[in-house]
């Protein structure tokens, strides 16, 4: 079934297999092919009813990420990195809050690579020995992040923003949680979340869609998957207030960093989620980007070093609006942000200009094999479907609607972290 991103001239071929696996193919005029195979399972799936059971359990922090590492351990086939390397392809994997992705990128041996990707991810091999071996590696990864001020800032912003939500748990876990993991824990999570009905494949680049779908169908037909298991994640109610407003962490930095997060209730105001995210992103840019009077003033008054970084992060029931800077006077900077945040002091002209920027960034998504692939993956985990109408949504954005939305937002729930 073919669909097209409206006004972007990018085709997407979609098929859902009998076992529930969803497949998206985006042919692009490149030699290389980029294939991702993802499960809708990440660090936030920490309390659930395991497949075949009836009661909720809570799993160890960092398990989704640990499981991702262990998928590369194989007994029935060659080690994945070596296999893909021998085919001249690059391979990797990553874990986020809401998904885990396994991928390869290569020019040759597409059928062989694609079959291998599906096979190794669908054939876990966890033993006491190989689980123990991984703990040392992940401990080093944790230490690497513990030495990085940016990672510390980000982790603590999340930890302190949420009272109950699993978004407060670091994706990688911590040393204690990692060393407590067993192979049984890994199998429990794998068997619950790695059924094809909870997974999807996205392939972009120099690919023949019919060929790709044929390969995947044949591959999946040879495997016996019982009926789709129900996945019941515990619904965790998150309050609007933050867990900890202020944290200061000493790393002996010359110039401190401050991250400020405004926790916004996602259900406020009757507007589609995707539009709210665009408006919030625009809002942050207009208020704190280099086009703003705020930016000019804080630069002039030496309140920041370098640029203001801002982002909006969706966390199911809430959005996090994050602003971070380097500043020798972080509390002064915070004070200025708090004075500024709720003011509607941007013009319609500035707003319309930002729309032009969005428009062009969507056009340019087809300039490499990775951007559209990522876009599709994010749409699936965030919206449950691919938003082919995204260009129409951007065209539809209007200043007055945005102003009305912003006026209804409560900015009084915020937290900040200073790393100094």
């Amino acid at each position: 079934m073919k669909k097209i991103f409206d006004k972007m001239n990018n085709e997407v071929f979609f098929e859902k297999l009998d076992n529930g696996l969803e497949v998206y193919i985006v042919p692009l005029d490149f030699k290389e092919v980029y294939a991702t195979f993802s499960t809708k399972y990440g660090s936030i799936n920490s309390e659930f009813i395991p497949h075949g059971e009836e009661k909720f359990i809570k799993v160890t922090d960092g398990i989704a990420h640990f499981l991702e590492h262990k998928m590369f351990e194989q007994i029935n086939r060659e080690e994945p990195f070596a296999f893909f390397g021998n085919n001249g392809a690059r391979a990797n994997a990553n874990t986020s809050h809401n998904k885990t992705t396994y991928l390869f990128a290569g020019i040759d041996s597409f059928e062989s690579n694609l079959n291998f990707l599906l096979d190794y991810v669908q054939d876990p091999y966890f033993t006491d020995e190989n689980v123990d071996k991984e703990k040392g590696i992940i401990e080093q990864e944790i230490k690497m992040y513990d030495d990085d001020p940016g990672s510390i800032l980000s982790d603590k912003l999340f930890q302190n923003a949420f009272v109950s939500s699993s978004y407060k748990i670091p994706i990688i876990g911590n040393k204690e949680s990692i060393y407590s993991l067993t192979k049984e824990d890994l199998y429990l999570c794998y068997n619950t979340f790695y059924h094809p009905s909870n997974m999807f494949v996205v392939i972009s680049g120099g690919v023949d869609p019919n060929e790709a779908i044929r390969i995947i169908k044949e591959n999946q037909a040879s495997k016996n998957y019982e009926n789709k298991p129900s996945i019941i994640n515990k619904e965790i109610e998150e309050v609007d207030t933050v867990a900890l407003v202020e944290e200061v962490y000493d790393m002996g930095l010359v110039i401190p960093k401050i991250g400020i997060n405004f926790k916004i209730n996602a259900s406020v105001f009757n507007l589609e989620d995707i539009k709210k995210r665009f408006y919030l992103s625009l809002f942050l840019n207009l208020k704190f980007g280099s086009i703003s009077d705020f930016y000019e003033n804080v630069k002039k008054n030496n309140l920041i070093n370098g640029d203001i970084y801002n982002t909006i992060y969706p966390a199911i029931s809430h959005y996090m609006l994050i602003i971070d800077v380097e500043s020798r006077t972080p509390m002064e900077f915070l004070s200025e942000v708090l004075k500024e945040i709720s003011l509607i002091n941007f013009s319609e002209e500035d707003f319309n200009r930002k729309k032009k920027v969005f428009f062009s960034s969507l056009i340019l998504m087809g300039d490499n094999i990775f951007s559209l692939n990522s876009r599709i993956m994010e749409d699936i985990v965030n919206y449950g479907e691919v938003r082919y109408d995204i260009m129409n949504i951007v065209n539809d954005l209007n200043y007055n609607e945005m102003v009305e939305y912003i006026k209804n937002i409560d900015f009084s729930n915020y937290n900040y972290v200073i790393v100094k």
Binding site: K31, R90, D108, I137, Q140, I255, F359, S360, S361
Partner: protein
Amino acid sequence: METKTIKLNGFDLNLIKTNKFKSVSVNFSFRRKLIKEELSKRSLIAEILLESSFKYPSKKDLTRAKEENYGQRISSQNYNTGCHTTMEFNTSYVNPKYTDCKDNKPFLDLIMEVIFSPHIDSSFNEEKFNLVLKELKEYMVSEKENTNKYALKQALESADKGEVYTLNNFGYMEDLEGLTRESLYDYYQDMIENDILDITVVGDIDFIEFENYFSSLKREAKSEDNNFEYVQKVKENFLELKEEYDSFQSKLVMIFKFSDFSSLETKLLVTLYRIILGSGTSSKLFLNVREKHSLCYSIGANTIPVSNYMTVRAGINKNDYEKAKEVILAEVADMKSNISIEEFEAAKKLLRNSILLDDESVNGIVSSYLSEKNYNYLSKEEKLLKLENATIDDLYKLANKIKLDTIFLLEGVR
């Protein structure tokens, strides 16, 4: 792809037509001989020109102009290649045919304004000068906080402090003493007038339009300095040093030097060597140091052929130092006589694909084009042919010309 190089008034205009991208990219590359004392000035210029311009005297105004041009991106960077240093300005924008602009002029006008029409009264605007100077100083004093970069810096300086290949690309605090906006502006004018300049355009473009546009830029013709390769002084015995640092993880850096490499070894074979030893998840270092011995999370080898050296870097526990050192050196020794046919063929495939993929990104296209043009690197076809004919013995021969020079440990004591 269709290409054309035109020698205009004191610079080369390189035009590369491809309809692979919906964007148009223009790269301005200013290069000259690397002199330590000039690095900080070049760093300041790369920043100050992006703050504002004569027509757009504030960052806000300049940002507005970029947004008006559909989010045109403009960036700058400095980097060193052997004995040369290069300041690059890059701009990319959506091809005008997808917009209501009738041609490339508004986009080209903006990047030309940024580079060639700075925000000056008699020299650089004082407020902007003070801002970028302050920020560069702040960057320099906080350099130590990035343990990866700091460990590398300390390793290089331990090996050969002051030598051109050890210099960073943003300059040194002592060279900022006494610098004024006037002296910086004088240097800028000298750079604009006397650096070797390449302008490279990539996209679905009309050659005539760009040739006509850039014909108005006038400079004196420049003579090329082709001495960019740095020849290493090889030590009799390697150095081994440690420095304590307030961090959880320790950073291990090993420096190896090359001597008497042939042109083919420098331009191609050493990359094959690097892939097998320590590039990516199927390399000897990754599979043995990390996967087999669990000694690290990140490990890799990086070769800098123009400066004739290689680094191996890993993040480890300090208690694993001796073991990590032993395993890494064993893998390096293996490269002299124990490369399997599977490893070799896999690396050839990876490198072959990497060469083929140079055409699939703007950065790859520009970098390959300029390397071939300015540094006599092999063309894509030549690389593929020579790669096809490369043998394991070629790599053994190369491996025997690589010598350990320095081992440095930034020892995390937290």
